[in-house]
Amino acid sequence: MKPASFTYHAPATIDEAVALLGLHAPDDGRILAGGQSLVPTMAFRLARPGHLVDINGVAGLDRVERVGDDLIIGACVRHAAFHQPVLDGPLGAFLSVVVRDIAHYPIRQRGTFCGSVAHADPASEWCAVTAMLDATIVAQSTRGERLIPVAEFFQGVMTTSLEDDELLREIRLPIPADDTRFGFCEFNRRAGDFAIAMAAVSYRVENGVMTNPHVAIGGAEDRARRINDAEQALAGKPPGPDAFLAAADAAAAAVDPMEDHATSAKYRRDLVRTLTRRALEQAAQ
């Protein structure tokens, strides 16, 4: 189908963008960035925003850069920007692995990192990655800037703590130590489909045992989140099958999986177990 009518705004600055969003938010005004989720939703007439504020022409939002100990990802940075590592070290390499699981190549040319997080589809790879890394979401409105820890950001399926008049301006990923190991594994039935479940993990190995373990599960529940029980099963243990299996079992036990016509909760729980183990094994390689 064809999208319904809307008024189009193309601001050139962030100030203009948030002013327009503030003005039109009551009339379901929304931000248009990559459009790879919003436009199909509009084509189905599931969304009929009265106004779209297109931020593609806003200067500076396409920057991805290291500032201090954070990787700053602007609102218009496309998925494709991560095809090559955006910084030296394990984080840049990790992001370049994860990006290959996002939809398809032409979609990755338009869709954005921040848009994916703002959309908060539980099956979004970047939602799992931001949850795993304890990212900070930077929201901006005419009322000012607000920093939101990712654990408080995702509130359910396609639901976040972003207010209607707030622009998700950037995401800050803490850059971990250079010896941090990463793993990512997802399952779907065909390349490019929405993931049925995924696991994103990281840990360091010091004196032969794992430290600072992070385990996040996406796609299985209504939001991506870190799984404390799985992390506890890794901390202080040597990396290997015993600890990985214990963490995988803990993750499977901790999740409350969604069900749909094709996927039972039991099946998703089994996937969480397998994907967590595989992601941990990948990180050990």
Partner: protein, 166 residues
């Protein structure tokens, strides 16, 4: 919505400028077909799944049903009509015919533009990577094998510079 909602834009398609007055809700695919009268770009699913509407936007393959025409103001667009030159088919078009990479032909313009975008950027792409990227688009006739073969044929025969000037 009234006409005052419309925007004046210029699209450059296959090197030619089109001055247009567009309703913001028109997708780029519709603008190309209905208002530039270039109907080689096909519309299949109209929600970004099938890839039949793939065009090159500043050299990169994108789904033209997933952006609005107004957003392409000032951009360089290439469609299937721009592939043949001086009455001679593009090597990819020749290869699609030779390897029977199309049957009904509906998906073909999208696959041709996807393959053009891929080979111009990655002329040495591996077989595995090529299969992965070609999985972006849907074909209901061929079973994909012959499409992969056609693109491999062109990759193996000619280099990057020739792709650009072809």
């Amino acid at each position: 919505m009234t006409d005052q909602n419309k925007k004046d834009i210029t699209l450059t398609i296959n090197g030619r400028d089109y001055d247009l007055t567009v309703d913001p809700r028109w997708t780029l695919a519709d603008v190309i077909r209905e208002h530039c009268h270039l109907t080689g770009t096909h519309i299949g699913c109209e929600h970004g799944v099938c890839g039949a509407c793939t065009v090159l936007l500043d050299g990169e393959p994108i789904r033209s049903c997933l952006m609005f025409g107004v957003q392409a103001d000032g951009k360089q667009i290439r469609t299937v009509e721009g592939l043949a030159k001086d009455g001679k088919f593009h090597p990819l078009q020749e290869a699609f015919m030779e390897t029977h990479a199309l049957q009904c032909g509906f998906c073909t313009p999208g696959f041709l533009m996807l393959a053009t975008g891929i080979l111009e950027k990655q002329p040495d792409i591996s077989d595995a990577e090529l299969e992965e990227l070609l999985s972006s688009n849907l074909c209901r006739c061929t079973g994909y094998i012959n499409i992969v073969k056609a693109v491999q044929t062109v990759r193996d025969k000619i280099g990057r510079d020739q792709m650009r000037t072809a």
